[in-house]
């Protein structure tokens, strides 16, 4: 275990300024740690990893890590990632987005990338809020909660990302939290290895913009909330529906083996060219 942090340090860009920009208690660093541990454990060379991010707090992650990194425009990280994967299927393309990034401005790209079932590892860091721009309501802000653009409580219903992604056609769908880090590491390894559109939602607290305004005294309170709210999917399923309340299941929700787009395309090309010669 001694290597945990040193190992992470080996993957960070040394010429970048640390500590990183994230607020105290922000879970983004925890996700980055989990990602690095998983890439390392799986033995994927740094050169083969392309980390694409959108705009927002999550978009700041790639700067810090020594992979091929792309900081895209708001909501469109998946489109650039799609181009990269189709152009060179050998690369491990990992996409990191926030909830507003992936599901609000990028919602259309998100469902279509899932429908295409293109081989991307997609992490959505869901903190229920627009963090970087100052705490505006996002499409995952729980109904009734306060944000700077819902000063009287969020009126609209929020997305269930797991159900949305499953319905859209992704091969693999999972959810974890930044409190349950060992589970997160397992889910991360799953997300990085299984073919096809591979989605992992990570619940990660934003105390600065969301927690403070919604009755969480400090970041620790938010992690306590995650600890008490999230539960393994298997246990959740055994729970009587009326007892589920606000509990959030975590684990692997979907595991399909459908052929990813880049493989189907390669097959088509072989078939067309085979027929020609």
């Amino acid at each position: 275990m001694a290597e945990v942090t040193q190992l992470i340090h080996n993957y960070l860009r040394r010429d970048k300024k640390f500590p990183h920009v994230f607020c105290p208690g922000c879970g983004h660093g925890i996700v980055l740690g989990s990602l690095i541990r998983s890439v390392h454990a799986l033995g994927i060379p740094k050169d083969d990893v392309v980390l694409v991010a959108g705009i927002g707090c999550s978009g700041r992650i790639p700067v810090y890590v020594d992979f091929n990194t792309v900081h895209a425009v708001h909501g469109r990280a998946l489109t650039i990632a799609t181009g990269i994967k189709m152009a060179n299927p050998k690369l491990h393309v990992i996409v990191i987005m926030g909830d507003g990034d992936a599901l609000s401005i990028g919602g259309n790209h998100f469902i279509h990338a899932a429908r295409r079932n293109i081989g991307l590892s997609v992490l959505v860091l869901n903190n229920f809020i627009y963090g970087m721009t100052g705490g505006q309501c996002s499409s995952t802000t729980p109904q009734g909660d306060w944000s700077t653009t819902t000063p009287y409580g969020a009126m609209e219903k929020s997305f269930d990302l797991v159900e949305l992604t499953s319905a859209a056609g992704a091969n693999h769908v999972a959810r974890g939290t930044t409190f349950h880090v060992k589970t997160l590491d397992k889910l991360m390894a799953n997300t990085l290895t299984k073919p096809g559109f591979n989605f992992l939602e990570v619940l990660t607290p934003c105390h600065t913009q969301y927690g403070r305004k919604n009755k969480f005294k400090n970041p620790v309170e938010m992690y306590k909330w995650l600890k008490s709210t999230a539960m393994p999917l298997e246990a959740y399923n055994k729970l009587a529906p009326e007892k589920r309340g606000d509990r959030i299941p975590i684990g692997i929700f979907q595991s399909r083996e459908e052929t990813p787009l880049e493989v189907s395309y390669e097959n088509l090309r072989k078939q067309l060219r085979g027929a020609k010669s």
Partner: protein, 85 residues
């Protein structure tokens, strides 16, 4: 899962990187760490009570905590008795 003995680990916290979020302090099962109000970051106060669960190292969002064995030949495997949800 056999409990490993306490106090076999050395905990290093980089004060420059620690932002004092308090996660490690709050969840450490051995109450090894405390927030230093002057420095605004976590510090080790009861290293001898560390059970090497690894929680703080895994959860530190700022990569500011490093746990190493006191005896370099000692086991570095984490104790599975880490906090459960």
């Amino acid at each position: 899962m056999a409990k490993t003995k306490k106090g076999q680990t050395k905990i290093t916290i980089y004060p420059d990187w620690c932002k004092g979020c308090g996660l490690c302090v709050a969840f450490c099962p051995g109450k090894v760490l405390e927030l230093d109000p002057m420095e605004g970051c976590a510090k080790v106060v009861r290293e001898e009570d560390c059970i090497n669960c690894g929680f703080c190292e895994l959860h530190c969002p700022d990569f500011a905590i490093v746990i190493t064995p006191k005896d370099s030949k000692g086991s570095t495997e984490p104790n599975e008795g880490s906090p459960k949800s």
